[in-house]
């Protein structure tokens, strides 16, 4: 008979699935909340705020407790039970990640009982895990593998899966699911529901038949998935991965007839070093250029150039929309939403299709570049666009889906042939036998050259907004951005707050630049800025689609954000630098380090405003001759969207 001497005094225990971190605990005396509780962990005594979990307390005491289902970004689950510890006066072992300290307790994190329990948990996980470590892309970066090593697993106590049991789901353009490797930690479920508010995955069935499934276990391509890949970044094993096109790219590189060009987004350069053992936040832009060339790519371009182009196009579109709304009284076209993030684009197509008229018609920088490479660049270099293989290095899995959108054929060919993630690029560089960290530096290739810092900060949340503000403020006021914001840094839009809001009063009005002449001729803009007199530009920035959902619901309800003129949304937490194609693992501190690297590199550049980028100016002189939002640019740089709705059946 189990002892009944020790009734569980704590109301919230590991058995209760907590949907939020237990900052407020209902147990104990109400007066205790906010106070300090003393706790003894392995002979270390410390005082922690009431309700701190054992895991958090151990971390502050410098004691490491192994975890598997726990993730800093996610709510608590307590399902894997690898973090069990002994708590005095508790009959059973307790999961430290979900155990809130509400009264003085004594915890033992290492004992024979604890070690054996953890080892058995691992043995049981391995009995169900089809682990082919050599042929797994997470080899050497797998949390299950690391734990097996840590706990000295040298044989399979409860057997091992010899053959894969489930078919690998390769239906999606972006995410590949291999449930043979799943350990049911439910990080992907929590990511998809809580962090991204998309709800693709769930734990279905019961007991030993439990599996992570989509709605009715449909293929991923047949459910509402925005392809953001956040689940990949948080999967502890190789159950989730991005669809890897590197074999096709190697084939193109090896084909002498093919001209293989690469465009690199701003975020991979701030993170790819992590794959080579560098600290998070080490920027390796120019070493990476050399590595990509040495791996066999013919040209390396900077996607930031088309990010600059995006700013000019999207900024012009904003001014045009403002003109239409404020002067001509048109409704339903504001706020203008950015369209750089393909995850966000698919999110709004599914969940808020009625707002598609507000979504900027500009393509993302990747697709703008794709269209230019097979038209402008091909003409300039005298290469048949059919022989060009256009690859993009992106921090993103949704970019793979975007490249495969049927409307992305502006050049007459598939504008971007392959989207490659940071992880896959690192793998290709390693496969080519190159050590990224020891390479000489080199610049981006002409005719697109090095871009501005404004394009670079597209990688962080708020970056598109800051780049747009730098340009729009200069274009409208005639002042220098530095006169309005110190060092042209727009601090309020930076940082990782879920939704950021800012108001910018327009201090004075300058002359309308010559760039807009063709628009003025068509009556799309006024000849002066007088109509903007005394106006205040209201803007907002959101990252992570759960925040985007809050923002959209507020707009729908006619709240504060419905008054905004321009809103930036990035599908991934932290913006592109936290994208689904970035090196694993991810955490708030890693993302902060990457952001610091990006902003630091921006500060070091002489060119920090999109409209001053000489290559972009040349592009408008040579190719997009009727200016931003003109006919040429509409043909190549703008797109349309599909209202998809959220009906599965």
């Amino acid at each position: 008979m189990p002892e009944k001497k020790h009734p569980n005094k704590v109301a919230v225990t590991s058995a209760v699935p907590t949907s939020e971190k237990p900052h407020v605990v209902t147990g104990g005396k109400p007066g205790d909340i906010g106070g300090l509780v003393s706790v003894k962990i392995d002979d270390i005594e410390l005082k922690v705020p009431f309700g701190t979990t054992i895991l958090e307390a151990a971390k502050t005491a410098g004691i490491r407790i192994p975890t598997l289902c726990y993730h800093e970004d996610l709510c608590l689950a307590g399902v894997c039970r690898i973090c069990v510890v002994e708590v005095a006066k508790q009959r059973t072992l307790q999961t430290s990640c979900t155990f809130p300290i509400t009264e003085p307790i004594t915890v033992t994190t290492t004992s024979q009982r604890v070690r054996q329990a953890r080892r058995h948990v691992l043995d049981l996980l391995l009995a169900k895990h089809y682990g082919e470590c050599y042929s797994c892309f997470r080899n050497n970066n797998c949390e299950l593998q690391a734990l097996a090593k840590e706990y000295g697993v040298d044989f399979f106590r409860f057997g091992h899966v010899e053959k894969p049991k489930y078919e690998v789901d390769r239906s999606s353009y972006s995410v590949v699911r291999d449930m043979n490797k799943c350990v049911l930690c439910r990080r992907c479920v929590r990511t998809c529901i809580d962090l991204q508010s998309v709800g693709v995955l769930t734990a279905a069935q019961r007991s030993d038949r439990t599996r992570i499934e989509t709605f009715l276990d449909r293929p991923l391509a047949d459910v509402i998935c925005i392809n953001c890949g956040q689940c990949i970044n948080r999967c502890p094993t190789g159950a989730l991965r991005a669809k890897d096109p590197s074999d096709e790219i190697w084939a193109a590189i090896d084909d002498p007839k093919k001209h293989v060009v690469m465009q690199t987004a701003p975020s991979p350069r701030a993170a790819i070093g992590e794959e080579f053992g560098l600290e998070p936040g080490t920027s390796v832009t120019q070493e990476m250029n050399t590595a990509i060339r040495r791996a066999g790519f013919d040209m390396v371009f900077d996607t930031n150039t088309t990010a600059d182009l995006t700013i000019l196009e999207e900024g012009t579109e904003l001014l045009h929309r403002l003109y239409k709304a404020l002067v001509q009284g048109e409704k339903g076209i504001l706020p203008q939403f950015t369209s750089c993030s393909p995850g966000w684009v698919k999110f709004i197509e599914h969940f808020y299709p009625e707002f598609l008229p507000c979504l900027s018609t500009c393509k993302s920088p990747q697709q703008m570049f794709g269209a230019l490479i097979k038209t402008y660049y091909a003409q300039k270099q005298g290469i048949d666009p059919a022989d060009i293989v256009s690859v993009s290095l992106m921090p993103c899995s949704a970019k793979k889906f975007e490249a495969n959108r049927p409307e992305m054929h502006a050049s007459g060919y598939k504008d971007v042939d392959y989207g490659l993630t940071t992880r896959e690029m690192a793998q290709m560089i390693k496969e080519a036998g190159i050590d990224l960290t020891r390479l000489p530096k080199s610049h981006f290739d002409l005719p697109f050259g090095d871009a501005s810092g404004a394009g670079l900060i597209f990688g962080a949340t708020g970056g598109v907004m800051e780049a747009a503000i730098r340009t729009v403020v200069e274009v409208v006021t005639g002042l220098k951005a530095e006169q309005v914001f110190s060092d042209a840094n727009v601090i309020p839009v930076r940082g990782f707050e879920g939704i950021k809001y800012m108001e910018i009063a327009i201090p004075q009005l300058g002359p309308v630049p010559a760039l807009f002449n063709s628009l003025i001729k068509k009556g799309k803009l006024g000849a002066t800025w007088d109509w903007l007199k005394g106006a205040t530009l209201k803007i907002a920035v959101a990252h992570g689609t759960a925040n985007a959902r809050k923002l959209m619901d507020d707009i729908k309800a006619g709240g504060k954000f419905s008054q905004c003129h321009f809103i930036e949304v990035m599908a991934c937490p932290g913006g592109c630098l936290g994208g689904g194609g970035q090196p694993i693992p991810t955490s708030p501190s890693i993302r902060a380090a990457r952001a610091k690297a990006i902003y630091g590199e921006d500060m070091g550049l002489a060119l920090r405003k999109s409209h001053e980028n000489p290559h972009v100016i040349k592009l408008y002189e040579e190719f997009l001759t009727d200016g931003p939002c003109g006919e040429q640019s509409h043909k190549y740089l703008h797109t349309h969207y599909t209202p998809r709705g959220d009906y599965l059946v």
Partner: protein, 174 residues
């Protein structure tokens, strides 16, 4: 599903959700009601429940797939659930199971062609001292032996379908 059927189901679920103030704690009773009426919770019903309660369809699917009394595929009018746990097994569950399969012409996990009976195993019914035990919808039968099986089935056949109509006619003539 016909568009009109969808429309009426949507309406029905909306009314049901109203009763539970569109709160997610209403999910279980809602699903039970739908299961009872339609003998399954269809794909469309899961999606509508999700829409009404402000959760994702996948979450509803997770719940439906978790509970064995809820199903995504239509069940028969009468669901026979035979206890498969230890004491019933010792008391002669296997013979009862074979008799059920023979009488109905189906295996466990299947539904008869006329959609009258579904046959499945369930876990302990708490009738361990009176095994073997089985459930027909909400009725419990204990100390079941193979000879009893046809009587039990006949009782339900008479409650529904052509047989029950016959009974009605007989009663009318009498």
């Amino acid at each position: 599903m016909l568009a009109t059927e969808r429309e009426s189901l949507r309406h029905e679920i909306a009314e049901l959700a109203e009763k539970f103030e569109h709160k997610r704690d209403g999910m279980m009773p809602m699903l039970e009601t739908i299961q009872e009426k339609y003998r399954c919770v269809s794909d469309f019903a899961m999606q509508e429940v999700a829409r009404q309660l402000g959760v994702f369809p996948t979450e509803v699917y997770g719940v439906v797939s978790f509970y064995s009394f809820l199903s995504t595929e239509p069940k028969g009018k009468f669901v026979i659930r035979l206890c498969r746990t230890l004491s019933c097994d010792f008391a002669g569950k296997r013979e009862v199971a074979r008799q059920l399969e023979n009488e109905l012409g189906i295996r466990f996990g299947e539904t008869t062609k006329d959609r009258l009976f579904s046959l499945e195993y369930c876990n302990c019914l708490g009738m361990c001292d009176n095994g073997p035990a089985l459930l027909v919808n909400n009725d419990v039968y204990t100390r079941v032996h193979p000879e009893l099986v046809s009587d039990i089935l006949e009782k339900y056949r008479r409650m529904f379908g052509p047989a029950s109509q016959l009974e009605e006619m007989e009663a009318h003539h009498a």
